[in-house]
Subunit: 138 residues, 3 copies
């Protein structure tokens, strides 16, 4: 069994940003030399998400509005977590979006349906943060 | 390490439908011959979900009503994604339900608790769509 | 390829409780002797969750209030599932929080970012329930 590990670093200039990372994950898979196995991609921070959906800007703005309705950023004092911080909403939004994805690796490719793409969703940005890529297989 | 791959095809006659697929996943596992490992089952489309919960029709109708409250289908023009399409709600509902499940394989069986069952949740049907089964192990 | 399996048992004295289980997962990983691979941790019951987020009590009370807003426990008769049971809300809350996490194993450690911690979230307690730990790798 082979294994491969890489950290992907991000610095979003604003609080929230959706970043398309499929090309970087494909590059990791090529580097790994793994042909059959599983590829885990997860946020290493608890106020960010890695998710799979459509690479379509309208949908991405829908996510923004929808998450803000389900877990509003403000007023900050509605959350017990916001004693010294202001990012409780980011923890909740990431819970909706998910921490991680697991993708099948087949014949050396990400085994994706026609519109699947991987995104890093920064929910509390303006600083350096990471996602982890771990691939195991043969 | 062995690996196994299969696509499961669905054609739901209506927009939304919950389809019980545990027997099909068990059949895949038998075909694979894998005794110890991990089994990934994921929707290959971004308006469908694979999830694990109870095989109980009351709960399934609760899901329908609950998802419609959290991410209503209509009015279609509330979503930026719905320029040429009408399925933004399906992308959001699938986000709540999740894209994939990972199940332990132990002694050649899905290593499930007493009530766990796997479902494909079609959220934008009336056409052919797929889920992927990938099993790795020995 | 090595594989390792363990059940973790819980008996929460109240209906809902968040239990920090990172130390138990680390102990499982040591027992497994696996240095490189993937670690799956999942609730074996469909009214409980395993999730990764911050080990901070304010956030945990925010989860309680937030989930109660998104999927209220009462009135019980708002849910079709609650014919003989009263736990439909627990099925929905667990759907938001997620059934499982998959964690990379690197150099014999859980490959975590700075604040990641694993929790079992009991959503319908007062009885014995289980989570499953499955680790595969080398």
């Amino acid at each position: 069994m082979k294994s491969y590990r890489k950290e992907l670093w991000f610095q979003a200039p604003q609080r929230r940003q959706i970043i398309h990372i499929t090309p970087q994950i494909e590059e990791c898979l090529r580097e790994s030399g793994i042909k059959e196995g599983l590829c885990l991609v997860n946020a290493m921070h608890i106020t960010a998400s890695v998710f799979i959906n459509d690479n379509e800007s309208g949908l991405h703005s829908d996510y923004e509005r929808w998450l803000e309705k389900l877990a509003p950023e403000k007023p900050y004092d509605q959350y017990a977590h916001n004693g010294y911080e202001d990012n409780a909403d980011a923890h909740l939004k990431r819970t909706i979006m998910g921490r991680e994805v697991v993708v099948a690796v087949t014949n050396g490719k990400l085994d994706f349906g026609p519109w699947e793409a991987i995104f890093y969703y920064e929910l509390d940005g303006k600083r350096q943060k990471r996602a982890l890529v771990k691939i195991i297989g043969e």
